[in-house]
C-alpha cells in the first residue's frame, strides 16, 4: 500500500521533477517486503464487530480553527441549537515565547468502523477517527462536549485548604481543613474529575458544560497509608461540593489542556472522535470505551492532568498564533 501511495504521488509530482532515476540493487529490492504503513485489524465485543485501519505515520502539526462543531441537531433534554461538541478558537500546538513553534504530535492515526448483524444484514453502527498516541497542547473555548474526558486533579493539601470555606458551626469541616492544611499540607492529593451536570453533581457525558467530581467520589493521597485514604474516603463529593469546597467547574475555564503527561513526556493513547447510532464500546488495547449515540470525543484516563489551582482558577490559553489576539 505504501508503495502504491508513493507511486501515485510520484506520478502526480513527476511532471516537473528533475530527480534522476536510480536502479535498485538486488539487495535493496529484496528488502522491499511490501509491508505497509497500513494495518487492518478486526475485533469483536458482544454483538458488535470492528474493522480498524491504522496508518503508520508520525505527524507534527500546528493549527488554528475558528470553529470545530460536531453533531448540531436537536436532542431531547438538551438546549435548543446546541451541539454534541462545540469548540471555538480551536488549536493544536503552540507558539513559544522565542517565536518558535511547539507542534502537537500524533502517532499512528486510525479510522475504524463498527458493525452489528441485524436480521442477517451487516449494519454499520459507528465510525471513529483517532490517534493511537498524542502529545501536546489542545486549546479552545469549549462550549459543549459529549464524551469521556477524565481529568486527573492533583495538588498539595496546603492549597486545597485555602479553597475550603467552612461555616463557623461546621466542626467536621473545620477539623478536616485542619488536617488538610496541617498534617497533610505537603502531601499530594488527587481526584478524578469527569463531565458533570453542575446542578446535581451527576455524571453528564452529553453536551456537558462542566467538569468535576461526581457524587460519591473522594479525594485520595496516593503516596499515603491506606488508613489516611480511609479517612479521606469518608468525605465524598455531593452536589458539586466536598467539605464546602467547590468540585465542579465550567469547561470554558480551561483554555489550554495538556494531552499526555508533561512531566514524563508520556503520550496519551486512545484519543478519538466518533459517531455512532447507539451506545457501543470502542476497543483500545483490549479495553472498551463506552460511548453514547451521536458525536463523541474521548480522551482516556490520565490523558489530562490539571492541578488544583488550575481546576479552581482555570488554565490560561497558551499562545497559538504568531500574531495572537489573546496576547498582542
Amino acid at each position: 500500500m505504501k508503495a502504491f501511495v508513493a507511486l501515485l504521488l510520484m506520478t502526480v509530482c513527476s511532471v516537473y521533477s528533475h530527480a534522476a532515476l536510480q536502479a535498485l540493487s538486488d539487495d535493496e529490492l529484496s528488502n522491499q517486503t511490501g509491508q505497509a504503513f497500513l494495518q487492518i485489524d478486526r475485533d469483536y465485543a458482544g454483538s458488535v464487530s470492528f474493522t480498524k485501519f491504522t496508518f503508520g505515520m508520525d505527524v507534527d502539526l500546528s493549527i488554528n480553527a475558528d470553529l470545530v462543531e460536531l453533531g448540531r441537531y436537536e436532542r431531547a433534554g438538551e438546549a435548543a441549537g446546541s451541539s454534541d461538541i462545540r469548540i471555538n478558537d480551536f488549536a493544536l500546538g503552540s507558539v513559544n515565547n522565542d517565536g518558535t513553534l511547539n507542534p502537537f504530535s500524533i502517532h499512528d492515526p486510525f479510522f475504524e468502523l463498527a458493525f452489528e448483524t441485524v436480521n442477517g444484514k451487516e449494519q454499520l453502527v459507528g465510525v471513529r477517527l483517532g490517534f493511537t498516541e498524542a502529545f501536546g497542547k489542545l486549546s479552545g473555548n469549549i462550549e459543549s462536549l459529549t464524551g469521556n474526558i477524565e481529568v486527573a486533579l492533583y495538588g498539595q493539601g496546603s492549597y486545597l485548604a485555602t479553597q475550603m470555606d467552612c461555616a463557623w458551626y461546621d466542626l467536621i469541616c473545620a477539623g478536616a481543613k485542619g488536617l488538610v492544611s496541617g498534617a497533610w499540607g505537603n502531601d499530594e492529593f488527587s481526584a478524578q474529575a469527569v463531565l458533570v451536570n453542575p446542578n446535581n453533581g451527576q455524571a453528564d457525558p452529553i453536551r456537558a458544560t462542566h467538569i468535576g467530581m461526581t457524587n460519591g467520589s473522594t479525594l485520595s493521597i496516593p503516596s499515603s497509608s491506606s488508613f489516611t485514604n480511609f479517612l479521606l474516603g469518608i468525605f465524598q463529593s455531593d452536589n458539586c461540593d466536598l467539605l464546602s469546597t467547590q468540585t465542579c467547574f465550567p469547561l470554558s475555564n480551561y483554555r489550554t489542556l495538556d494531552i499526555g503527561n508533561v512531566d514524563t513526556g508520556e503520550y496519551a493513547s486512545g484519543m478519538f472522535i466518533s459517531f455512532q447510532s447507539k451506545s457501543i464500546s470502542w476497543i483500545d488495547n483490549g479495553q472498551g470505551t463506552p460511548t453514547t449515540s451521536g458525536a463523541f470525543m474521548n480522551i482516556p484516563n490520565g490523558g489530562i492532568r490539571t492541578s488544583f489551582p488550575e481546576a479552581f482558577n482555570g488554565t490560561e490559553r497558551i499562545r497559538t498564533k504568531f500574531l495572537d489576539p489573546y496576547y498582542d
Binding site: 509491508q35 491504522t54 480553527a65 444484514k121 454499520l124 447510532s277
Partner: protein, 348 residues
Amino acid sequence: MTDKYLILIVLATGLVGYTNVAQAELTSLSDEALGEVKGEGIGFMLEDFAFEAGADVATGNRLDITGLTNSAGDDVVLSVSQFYIAGSGSNLGTNVIGNPVNLGRLLYPYNLELLDGDDIGIAGKAVFEFATPQRFAGNSTEKPYSLLDFNMEQRTESRYPGEQTATGRRVDSVSGVDLAALSSRASERADFGIRYDLMENGVRAQSLEAHAQGVATDGSFLRLWGDNNEMVGNLEFNFYAQDLLFFACDANGNNCGDSVQFHNFVLESQLGYGEEQPVTFEVESDGNFTIEVGSIEGKTNAFYQDFYANGPRTDIYIENVSVGGSDFGSATVSNLQIQYLRATSRDL
C-alpha cells in the same frame, strides 16, 4: 494569443469494463465560447465518460493488495473491485454503462498550463498548474469563491478568567451550501464508487463499499515549481459531493446494511501560501514518504497579518451526518489554518 498556443482537446470516451470504445466527436465553438478562450496551455474535457472495472468479483475480477498484516502479524488481503465513474444517478454503481458523465466542458475545461510566477506571487519562477473547471462567485464577495455561506459573530473571549480578552469576528455556523458557485452543471457531476473485500488468514471476512454521488471538484488546482533543486508546490483542493455513503455487506457482497451517509459534503482546502509556505513531498529509499506544509516561523509581522486575514484555510462542512439511519445533524470545521504540518509514514 500572439506568442502562445492553443490546444483544445475534446475526448469523447466510453470505457466499458476493460474494453475501450472511443466515440470521438469534434464540436464547433460558439462565438461566446471562443470569446472565453485565453489561449494559454492545454484545456481538456472528457465527454460521455463512463468507467467500470472489476465488476465480476465472483470470478476473481479484482485487484488484491497483499503484504498487509493485522497487529498480530496475520496476513490480511485487501481486494479492490467494482470501481466505477459514471454520471450522477448511477444508483450506487448499478447504472454505469449508458449513464456517462461530462467531466468539464469547452467553456470550463480542465487545464494544464505554465504560469508566470510573477502574476501569482511566486517571483521569477515558471509555475506548472493543473486546474479543474473554475468556480463562479455565487454568493462570495471575493476570491477564492466558496460554496459555503457563513454566519459570522463578533465575539470577545479571555485567554484566562478575568484576564486579557480577544475580540474579533469568527465563524459561528454555516448557513447553507451555495451550488451556484459550481461551473459544473448537474450532468457534469460524477458518481464514484469502489468495493473493498477483506480477507484475514485466508478467510474472506467482510465487504465494504464506498460511494460518492454528484461530485464536483471545481476551483481546484495544483501548482508546482522548482526551488533550490527541490520541487515545491501549493494545492487548493475543493471537493463537493451531494452524498458520501459507506456500508458493509457480508463476505459475498450480499445482505448489505444501512450506511454511514454524509449529505452535502464540502471540503475546501488550501495547502501552502506561495513561496512563503511551500508544500513539499519526499520519498525515501525505503519507500516511506514525507509530506510537509512549511513552517511560518520567523516571518515579518506584515506577513502574519496577511496570513491570518487572507492566507490559506481549510473548511469542512457536512450538512447532515447519518449513521445507520439516525441523523446527527451538521458537522463543521471552519477557517482552519495550518502553521506547520509534517507527516512521515513508517512501517507498522
